[in-house]
């Protein structure tokens, strides 16, 4: 029993992951669209910022500074989208097909999360490569590999959040609202676009409450070799956030009504 139910769990996760991968491979325009936004930021903001500002203490403020922030942003978008896509599954009926199957809902949502985080990591890695091509230099190959791990951990967290939200939202109109009320503040308050070392008190509080901040800071440490928040703290926060969101998403999805 123990062994077969373990196999079934693995198969459930794999099935859901496989579906996300097939869908992802069919939506080339979506991938290009998802890459275009951060790329514009990187090139235009990078050029604009470096000619206008300088970070206090002498560090340069250019596309190199922005790259980890934009990788974090695209991981956030892709993973939230991956979680919230359950709303679409419900809207178009496929969710019933999953919920009627003799499989655990927890592993269904875990598979969905794995699929979403894979797409998020692919997008993050592509931006990392493009940034490198246009001249951003990373400290080491180990840093790059560690950055991919950071993408994975923070991606899982935001997918869990997305699944939790999707389980509570009744319609896909609500989705638009969530995307604008959640993603923009998360991105703007994350330090993706500005250094967080010298912020006014109120802003600092908000920035430090934002999980994306730790993702961006961790990426900055991995790729550029320095960060305001120590890497150990970032990793601990991200891991705790991911575990909490996976549990929350799994729980709410388990209770979800069709």
């Amino acid at each position: 029993m123990g062994n077969t139910s373990f196999n079934r769990a693995i198969q459930t996760v794999y099935t859901m992951w496989l579906r996300e991968m097939i869908r992802f491979s069919r939506s080339k325009s979506r991938i290009i669209g998802a890459l275009a936004t951060p790329l514009f930021f990187l090139v235009i903001l990078g050029a604009g910022f470096s000619s206008s500002f300088q970070v206090k203490g002498g560090g340069s403020f250019d596309k190199g500074f922005l790259a980890p922030g934009l990788i974090g942003m695209s991981v956030l978008f892709a993973s939230l989208m991956g979680g919230v896509s359950i709303i679409w599954d419900r809207e178009f009926g496929f969710l019933k097909e999953i919920l009627i199957a003799p499989v655990s809902r927890f592993f269904v949502s875990l598979g969905k999360a794995m699929g979403g985080v894979t797409t998020a990591m692919i997008q993050g890695i592509l931006i990392m490569i493009i940034a490198w091509i246009i001249g951003v230099r990373y400290v080491s190959i180990w840093g790059v590999l560690l950055a991919i791990m950071v993408m994975f951990i923070s991606g899982i967290g935001f997918i869990g959040l997305g699944i939790a939200i999707a389980s509570k939202i009744e319609s896909h109109e609500g989705f638009q609202m969530v995307m604008s009320f959640l993603t923009m503040p998360l991105v703007l308050l994350s330090g993706a676009f500005f250094p967080i070392s010298n912020l006014p008190g109120w802003l600092k509080t908000l920035v430090y409450l934002n999980p994306l901040t730790y993702g961006v800071e961790a990426l900055r440490w991995c790729l550029l070799g320095n960060s305001t928040i120590p890497i150990s703290i970032s990793i601990i926060v991200l891991v705790l956030f991911s575990i909490a969101m996976t549990a929350l998403g799994g729980k709410l999805f388990g209770k979800m009504r069709v």
Partner: protein, 332 residues
Amino acid sequence: MQYAIETSAITKNFDEITAVNKISITVKPGELFGLLGPNGAGKTTLINMLSTMIEPSGGSAFVWGHNIVKEADYVRQNIGVVFQDTTLDDRLTGRENLDLHGRLYGLDGKTRKDRIKEVLSLVELTERADAIVKTYSGGMMRRLEIARGLMHHPHVLFLDEPTLGLDPQTRLHIWDYIKLLNKEEGVTIMLTTHYMEEADKLCDRIAIIDHGEIVALDTPQVLKNMLGGDVITLELEKPGDIEKLCGTYQKNGCANFVSKKENEVFITVKNGEREIPHVLALASGAGIPITSVSLRKPTLDDVFIHYTGRAIRDKEVSEMEEVGYKMRSRRK
């Protein structure tokens, strides 16, 4: 296991509405059982409970020997469900949809491959199997869903309005598949429909369900025979005369059943040919002009009209006359 499906006093309340009210039915293995009722009668709610989508508020039910609440996973393993609305992933191909289903039900690679071939040929979709579902017609999607519901060799198949919204030709096609499944694969089938013809042509037994309760349950033939005899249809010149004419026939007790629809009155009698003159004489005696008369055998429509509330039970009229003439109208 004696029954494929067995419910006892199964009930579902949504807030203040009782969608399913203490329904007790049994379906034998291999039976093709129909739930016939108007929209909102509770058919889908019943199927959703039996297929473990929602939990009942009261009562209990067993599907293929398993309790639908306590052993939901065993029930799920043994059933296939085709919902009213499509539940396919329209970005995937037909074959991919079937494959994912097979994986979710724990079929190994070889079994999936073989079974996909079988179910595709059963619903004649082999040639379109590798097209994206988005490009399918409504009928093809429904066929694919039936095929998918069969992937894991379910013992019981639930079909919720399997031909809703399909054109008549496709509908006939789907009927053939359903019959084939039932006869050749021996699958027990419970389907819901509000098409009389569908229930009549397909089902071994029919439960007529209205306002969450079973109002009649038997084979289509017995249900029709229950009305007793032939149906005389009278078309009135003035729809306003309908109540008066019905009353006239009730009082004279010349018919088994009298029912009405818009400007027509249906009278069920024995020896219809002989009764027509009598029926017409009564109408002209009451001063009600009739524009046309026709005679036919009862259909399931008549049974349905009779049971779902637009009909009057002749037998009860004598008892009711004392408390006043009462329509058995249960429509809201």
